[in-house]
């Protein structure tokens, strides 16, 4: 299996091949159209955020009122997905600062969603910047979620955030004691570590308070609302996430070969904030989520045919991940226009 360690031996190989901070393929699109697509708005993101938070509060109230009955299961299922999965797209969009026009609104929702998504907010900004610089470049990209040859069981465990919470907790505890992880030191400037140390301590304090609350009231209920949803509500984010890059090429400078767009219905697009147009997002990260369908229409003739559904994408991906367990040279090829 390749060594996916960020800053590991593959990083030097990537640099030698000219894959680091390189120029990537871009489709042709006229500047006036692009300028219109990049335009920011507070209204659309405010509407979507209010709907998301209202749904979260309503499902939370129902979950609270039904605690102790079987009705709590569907209520917490909805609450958990809104908390543990929908937060991921909000963290992501506000991290790019494209969701709202207001930087303050982006930053506030970024921090709220990062907490719900269990991502230490400073290190993930830098991690994601690297992911956009060197997308699926082995040894450089810290966000290669589906590594060739990795056990499929690990992906299954990730539906319940087992691995991701373990690795994030390790980082948060190290940061809380003033130490970066080896990989973090590769993509995050030393001057930016203090922010990670601070937020790690804040996260530990909050989770410690929730545990104390549970002990005092002799119930797991407080943790069912804060903390545990990242386990029981994470699965939908993993389903969306697997469609982004899994099974596609590594070490290429063309997002059309390592990123996919998948058509989704309106409910999924709301939960995922249009990140199903993931290929378009990677090529043009300055385009806000609400303009991605228009961007897709503008450049579709220069991109591979998108998958028609999540199921259509997963049917392509899972067999390839299974084959990569035995033969890591297996890759999903893309037909380029």
């Amino acid at each position: 299996m390749r060594d996916y360690t960020v800053g590991g031996p593959e990083a030097a190989t990537a640099a030698a091949k000219g894959l680091v901070e390189a120029d990537w393929y871009k489709p042709n699109i006229d500047r006036a159209t692009m300028k219109a697509l990049m335009a920011r708005s507070n209204g659309i993101a405010a509407r979507d955020t209010v709907i998301w938070l209202l749904l979260l509060v309503c499902s939370g109230v129902l979950a609270y009122l039904s605690w102790g009955t079987w009705w709590a299961i569907p209520a917490f299922a909805v609450y958990g997905v809104l908390y543990g999965s929908a937060s991921d797209a909000r963290w992501h969009e506000c991290g790019h600062r494209t969701a709202f026009r207001s930087r303050l609104a982006n930053d506030v929702i970024y921090h709220v969603a990062a907490f719900m998504d269990y991502r230490e907010p400073v290190s993930w900004r830098w991690s994601h910047a690297r992911h956009h610089s060197d997308t699926i470049i082995v040894g450089r990209d810290p966000e290669i979620a589906f590594q060739r040859g990795a056990p499929l069981f690990a992906t299954f465990l990730d539906l319940f955030a087992v691995r991701s919470v373990f690795f994030e907790s390790k980082k948060i505890f190290m940061n809380a004691f003033g130490r970066p992880t080896t990989e973090q030191a590769d993509f995050q400037p030393a001057e930016e570590m203090r922010g990670s140390y601070l937020w790690s301590r804040i996260y530990i304090a909050i989770f410690g308070a929730v545990v104390a609350w549970c002990v005092v009231v002799e119930s797991v209920l407080p943790a069912m609302f804060i903390g545990l949803p990242m386990f029981y509500g994470r699965w939908l984010m993993v389903v969306y996430g697997i469609t982004q890059h899994a099974g596609l090429a590594e070490d290429v400078l063309d997002h059309r070969l390592n990123t996919r767009t998948v058509m989704m219905n309106r409910v999924n697009r709301f939960m995922y904030l249009n990140m199903n147009f993931h290929l378009e997002h990677h090529i043009f990260p300055t385009v806000p989520y609400h303009a991605l369908p228009k961007l897709h229409a503008a450049v579709a003739d220069q991109l591979p045919t998108p998958h028609r559904s999540i199921w259509h994408a997963i049917r392509e991906i899972v067999p390839v991940l299974a084959r990569q367990k035995k033969d890591q040279s297996v890759v999903l090829a893309r037909v380029l226009p």
């Binding site: 920011r40 930016e192 043009f284 990260p285």
Partner: protein, 105 residues
């Protein structure tokens, strides 16, 4: 040391309002920004964070956003104002003379 001088780099009509174009002066890639209120600014065209051309970026008031990582700079001062941008851009004196944009470099 070479003395700086004014260079004609194009007409104001070459740049839409609230937008940016790229020009090359000597060996220096320069981004020319025209704001919505019709002021022009000149800054280094390459982002100080990643190797991306700001000439493909997004202009919002007097800020320009890098097209690759969404870092932001104030084009009036060159200051980096949003991460991952941390290092200021070089700025160049810029003026409009009879519809022509001139940069001092």
């Amino acid at each position: 040391m070479t003395e700086s001088r004014w260079h004609q780099v194009g007409a104001t009509d070459d740049v839409m309002r609230d937008d940016v174009i790229g020009v090359t002066v000597g060996e220096t890639a320069v981004a020319i920004i025209r704001t919505a209120d019709d002021r022009v600014f000149a800054v280094d065209a390459v982002c100080t964070h990643g190797r991306a051309s700001l000439t493909e970026g997004f202009v919002d008031g007097t800020e320009i956003e890098c097209p690759k990582h969404n870092g932001r700079f104030d084009v009036t001062t060159g200051d980096a104002i949003a991460s991952p941008a941390r290092v200021a851009l070089r700025t160049f004196p810029c003026r409009v003379d009879n519809g022509c944009i001139e940069v001092q470099l």
